[in-house]
Symmetry: C2
Subunit: 496 residues, 2 copies
């Protein structure tokens, strides 16, 4: 009856430099034609977004364009208004009466206390079917469902500077993953090692004739073994890049001004690419901030000084350098150092530091506190034309957890939460809530995970008291949007 807690998954991660050249995806999901996927038979509410092919009247489309919540919440217009109420901050969960989320996943959310007009978090939970694009031999595949793959998908998206990037990512990121997996359908179902090379055209020879390779150096004559797992990791990594590139292309039409952080779980063939763990609290994600990514940012600024536009220095100083200190010696760190040393202050050291501040106040280019995310293609340094990308990278960090390697009990869960949860709740507090709520419910009650998600959201929000939302210890609760998924690790079918 031990509880396993907290987690994250494909936390957004680093590219560095201009976006790398990347093979074209032949069939990118189109945000203007792809309606958001919904659980089978669940009513879609609010109606699909402008241009998504729904027949909703223009007025509804208008309203929705400025505020939408996950379709699986099945919110009525009245429910949508309540979910948008900063004063009441009512916790929202999928209705008991509708079809449950896959795996009996629990979900709860609450809007912020006023920091932004609408809830800028978004969520997605889907079962996604992947049809193979063609067979390894190059012959076009029969469109027979039996030969495809299914994956389970959960995503949380924490938007900033508007909710559009989070909304777009919640509707499309899993489709990009599906797109990347299409080439792999047959390969992943074949127990033999993946082919290193595929023919370009149907019927062309594959890579099986690679064994005659003899290079002039011994290091060239070898060939690496590539695992199936690493192909899925590569597919997820590339899907994030394609998602970000699509946002860049379509940002004008969709008014995507801001960006979002993403936390995604993919369950495929017994493995969850990125997840929780066993026994005790096992964090599965880490934060990407100007502090944790200092050396990546500094290295990029050092190797590509033109990205700093003469406005910033890639060196770090423990505080802002003053003009009157020219010629004195101040502590600094460059892109390689973990320690500090003194250097004589020169004119260029008076520039703004690329990375400054500590903790919640840490900023990159004096502008933004996160260093990985989707979107933000229009983001510029305050009162400047200098772009924040590519310092802000769309590359995810992917971790793999093999669900089949552990026996999971009904109380083993993966908790995904946005900043609203983690800013005010420690891992240990989450673990205690998991224990308290789940032990009070029957193990076979599928609504227990929703009850747990609600308890976690309520615990982070607090109650209105003394002119604020306060926790039982009288500290302030989170004023941010709070969204939580609780995924039981028992696996598909076990509890649903």
């Amino acid at each position: 009856m031990l509880n396993r807690v907290r987690s994250a998954v494909a936390h957004l991660v680093s590219s560095g430099g201009a976006p790398p050249p990347r093979p074209k995806s032949p069939d990118l999901p189109n945000s203007t034609s792809a309606p958001p996927a919904a659980p089978p038979q669940a009513p879609r509410s609010p109606p699909a977004r402008a241009g998504s092919g729904s027949a909703a009247p223009a007025r509804t489309v208008e309203a929705r364009a400025s505020f939408c919540r996950p379709t699986f919440l099945q919110l009525s217009p009245g429910g949508l208004r309540r979910a948008d109420d900063h004063a009441g901050r009512a916790v929202q969960s999928p209705p008991d009466t509708g079809r449950r989320l896959p795996w009996s996943t629990g979900y709860a959310e609450v809007i912020n206390s006023g920091k932004s007009r609408h809830n800028e978090d978004q969520a997605c939970c889907e079962v996604v079917y992947v049809e193979g694009r063609r067979s390894v031999s190059g012959a076009p595949r029969e469109p027979s469902r039996g030969q495809g793959l299914c994956f389970y998908y959960w995503g949380l998206f924490d938007g900033h500077a508007g909710g559009r990037a989070a909304e777009m990512a919640s509707r499309l990121l899993h489709r990009h993953i599906r797109e990347q997996l299409k080439d792999l359908v047959e390969i992943l179902q074949d127990p033999s090692p993946p082919p290193l090379c595929l023919p370009s055209t149907p019927g062309a020879p594959g890579s099986s004739d690679s064994s005659h390779l003899v290079g002039p150096q011994s290091c060239w004559s070898s060939q690496k073994e590539v695992t199936h797992e690493s192909l899925v990791v590569g597919a997820i990594e590339n899907a994030f890049q394609f998602m970000d590139e699509q946002m860049a292309r379509e940002r004008r039409g969709h008014q995507v001004e801001g960006g979002c952080c993403a936390l995604v779980v993919v369950y495929l063939l017994g493995k969850v690419a990125i997840i929780v763990r066993n026994g005790e609290i096992i964090p599965m994600s880490r934060e990407f901030t100007p502090e944790t990514e200092r050396q990546r940012l500094q290295m990029l600024g050092f190797l590509k000084p033109e990205l700093l536009g003469g406005e910033f220095t890639h060196l770090e100083f423990p505080r802002r350098v003053q003009p009157k200190e020219l010629g004195q010696r101040m502590l600094y760190r460059d892109q390689n150092m973990t320690g500090w040393a003194y250097k004589k202050i020169e004119l260029e050291d008076l520039r703004f530091p690329l990375v400054c501040g500590e903790g919640k106040k840490a900023r990159m280019m004096a502008t933004i506190g996160v260093t990985r995310g989707l979107g933000d293609h229009n983001l510029r340094v305050c009162s400047s034309t200098l772009p924040i990308k590519p310092f802000l990278s769309s590359f995810p960090e992917v971790r793999v957890y093999d669900l089949t390697q552990y026996e999971h009990c009904p109380d083993d869960v993966l908790v995904l939460g946005t900043d609203g949860l983690w800013d005010v709740t420690s891992d240990c507090e989450v673990a205690a809530t998991v224990d308290r709520v789940l032990s009070a419910c029957e193990p076979n009650d599928p609504s227990r995970y929703t009850a747990l998600a609600q308890a976690l959201v309520l615990g982070a929000r607090g109650t209105p008291r003394d002119r604020g939302w306060r926790l039982p210890n009288n500290k302030l609760g989170s004023g941010d949007d709070i969204s939580v998924f609780v995924i039981p690790l028992g696996g598909p079918g076990s509890y649903s």
Copy 2:
């Protein structure tokens, strides 16, 4: 009676890109005027190197220039010949009769079985006194010994393509560290936090007036706390850079053609910057190879494609791409990916891969198997003019171990070894030898650490049998140079 084993210290680490601009060191140690420091009163043999100011006759200088061993071995000309004998491979240790190494450190070495003319490993063990350059207030310091600092220093240097870089580093790296510490003598002895800013000229005001700083952003108004420890780390980091820059400047005069890896331990004020650990086997270093540093190398090639000279691609493929495969799709990884994906092969993918091969055969630019080291300033890609630097970086990785936080018994040791040891000996085997040898000696016998170093070297070398040096399990022993320090963690004075 638990044994603590294995370690490393300032393993050589990464710079990336052209060497960063670095504050000038006002008083760089000069390799042409600084004779190698020797334990007090120990006879210096072989005599000091050419140009080092010794009055040795030219003939001796000649001989020594092509072959020298650590001065603390106190080798006679006959001993030097025996140490240079590839057939006998006699194990060398400091004589029992002379002054012991600091901390009763044990040392043993053996030459290779023929892979190079001379032993390309070098070692240094010193107590180094650091005199402060001036006081924090800017007033020139009285040259009174009592106000300086001492540090203990152990270094192993594993040369390649000749022994000159290793020899130069063994004679000078600790002097560079001393140079970097000179500014910190007073600061490190003052329990208050280090000043963030120092005056440029004696008597000028310090940084105590920094509190009025108010930036336009909250992130700028803060100032970081910098620890004493991080100043020492920064000093060591910069010392490696200065050492490498000195090699670049003086390589012609000293015929420094090759390079070396370095493993260094510094003990200062109760802390050992970079060390071993407690209870069981705690590795304190890691290897820097084209495999472990793949993403750093790829990122550098991606951001600075001119460094690849049109000859290499920064992408990794699981094997060499063949011209006939143009247009097919092959697995690849870029600088951001940990997984693999397929891409269509284009003309530029036919270039040599920046990183190729696996394990011991992994190579960077088809040339070298290590990615951090001192020297190698003349190293070019085979049959090309393309330099291997800055892919080969001189930046160290520094780890700190606080000796004062643990109670150490006489069997707690830090084992430093060159590749010759670790290539054929696992951490567990080293731990077993530590236990076997030390438990057979009296705890207060100071020669037990030398006995242990000898046992480790012998265990890695093996005995001549079946036309080779073989281990008891009949596998081949190491044919490389093997050098081992055994440092008792009991601290200075406890066992010496």
